[in-house]
């Protein structure tokens, strides 16, 4: 039917779109570069400042006023105890909440109120959780400034994040599967157990990883809940005193002696390695679940 005739304005418009099409990838790649370069330069700074301070002392020794002897043993163990325990509290609770919201009360009024509240909770400054936990858990319930209080604080803190991801994970399971199972006469519990939860679990674990990573880096709520820094014994029970790595790092970095600032950088490297190990383990578990699911499903 021959060429369409374009007016001048339309031609300019097409030309503009073509230019935009060319330029956009460049802008986007610059954005990626900026993000990667920032992370890389931060890592590099930390490694250059603190790399030579990495030693077994740093991991095995208790805090000390002498930078050569100073370590963060109690902080590392405290972090692992509280964050690990908080994950054990937070992940099952989040998954249960998500199952309720998606599978049982989907679309209900209660469900939307709950979802709204959980989303709001995610925006509360972390120190508020610390203050609430100190008043309610430590004093009112008499749990004291202990590992278990710290774990609950971090669990409440990460709960919204993990719940939201878990909800998304369950929502991502195609309704066809759900309806198919219901059509065969399955109860809701059976649908959750055999159809939706196994499919959603890998993504839920991703949410868990994010939660753990956040909890591991939190200093403010722990400063309120524990406040302790100098502890020369390992946490041995749920009711032990504890401190965490971000507190130790914060304290070192604010000291005048350059040696402590270097030590702080070395401590950041250790924190990152632990984070990497935890994430690695969670990713491994996720891959394992996906593989198993694949075997069972296809």
């Amino acid at each position: 039917m021959g060429h369409q005739v374009l007016t001048g304005a339309e031609r300019r418009h097409v030309g503009l779109r073509k230019i935009f099409d060319r330029v956009l990838p460049i802008i986007l790649s610059v954005a990626v570069f900026v993000a990667v370069a920032t992370v890389a330069s931060l890592l590099l700074t930390v490694i250059i400042t603190g790399g030579h301070r990495l030693s077994w002392n740093l991991i095995l020794n208790y805090p000390s006023a002498n930078p050569e002897d100073a370590g963060m043993r109690s902080a590392i163990l405290g972090s692992i105890f509280t964050v690990g325990l908080s994950a054990l509290i937070c992940i099952p609770l989040s998954i249960a909440t998500a199952i309720y919201l998606v599978e049982y009360s989907r679309g209900g009024r209660l469900s939307s109120i709950l979802s709204y509240n959980i989303a709001n909770l995610a925006g509360v400054p972390s120190v508020i959780f610390g203050v609430v936990a100190l008043g309610f858990l430590a004093y009112w319930l008499g749990m004291g400034r202990t590992v278990i209080t710290g774990a609950f604080t971090l669990a409440i803190l990460t709960l919204p994040l993990v719940t939201v991801t878990s909800v998304e994970a369950l929502k991502a399971v195609p309704d066809d599967l759900r309806f198919g199972a219901y059509a065969l006469g399955a109860t809701t519990l059976q649908v959750v157990r055999r159809v939706t939860l196994p499919r959603a679990l890998p993504m839920m674990l991703t949410g868990g990883i994010l939660g753990i990573s956040r909890a591991l880096g939190e200093a403010a709520p722990i400063l309120v809940v524990s406040g302790l820094l100098f502890i020369r014994e390992d946490p041995t029970s749920l009711f032990s005193k504890f401190t965490v790595m971000p507190l130790q790092l914060y304290n070192w970095i604010s000291r005048p002696q350059p040696a402590f600032i270097e030590l702080s950088s070395a401590g950041i490297i250790v924190l990152l390695l632990i984070l990497l190990a935890l994430n690695g383990a969670a990713i491994g578990l996720r891959q394992y679940l996906i593989r198993r699911m694949g075997q069972n499903w296809r």
Binding site: P63, P92, G227, L228, F230, I231, R232, P256
Partner: protein
Amino acid sequence: MMANPKMVGLILTFLLVGGVVGYVGGWYVSGASTTGGAVTVTEKITVTAPTGGAVTVTERITVTAPGQTQTSGQLAGEIEIDGSSTVYPLTEAAAEAFMKLHPAVKISVGISGTGGGFKRFVVGETDINDASRPILKSEAEKALSSGVEWIEIPVAIDGLVVVVNRQNDWVNCLTISELKKIWEPDSKVTKWSDVRPEWPNERIVLYGAGPDSGTFDYFTERVVGKLKASRTDYIASEDDNVLVAGVEGEKYALGYFGYAYYPHAADKIRVVPIRDDAKEGSECITPTDETVSTYVYPLARPIFIYVNKKSWNEKPWLREFVIFYLENGENFVRQVSYTPFTSQYYKAAAALLRAGITDGLFSLTQVVVWKNAGPH
């Protein structure tokens, strides 16, 4: 897919078992450490008090320690310390050294801040509070109403320095009232020329301590005249490194931070001598170890530990720790780069405490300082 319910079950079981084990463990540990009976400790010490001339004070005291035992000279027990993060490095050094000698004494030190620490101290929750200022009246009233008495022990000197950029060639001295004019709430000063007309007509960029620090409390009280009263349009940080970097990079900057940090930054910035114009005939004083430790420099203050008197009476290991802290005080203070009192003060204070004299230690610092610095 039975794996997932199993996993959830496993996690719940783990939680339950962990909880029970932890609870029993905690009960066992705490139960095991509080065996006791009443023990009487008698100590006889001769003290040379530094007041006036050399006066010899002999004290014989009996301390009854109910509830706790001290078996075969081996000290064992817990000491809970919280408070100022300014005092923390010093107490950390003392606690570390003490625990090397007495491994069975468990000391924990927190960093909740002077005010945060006093909140716990005045209800008897902690044995010792690290404080970068004297106890406030409101805190003292709360302590007395809950039956907590305390021993106030000065442990070191903390000074503030006011600093400017190295390219700043116009400021040679600042008075306390000039500082007040710059830093008071709703201050009209925006340019250097607002402070003194002959100074540059350039925007003054201010750096100072964050509102949670003891340094901020001290600066506002000493300079502005009212605790926590400060203008708010300045760059605040709890981290001295940030303040130094800021002043180092900005020609028209003015900042203040703790004296302890100054020697580490002396080559990056320039310190401003201070004149206390409330005192007649006062001079501009540059902060040095000597002017700071004698309080000749107007922006120097003592820092303290506050000891719960009940803990002091009941816990022999705590008494040993506090005395140890003072006996070696000068070393610890130097180790963490604070400014010590004179060696005589630490010796005298330790001896007085050993003899059971717990009052008036603050006036002791001044007596010793005067004796040293005075024109005798």
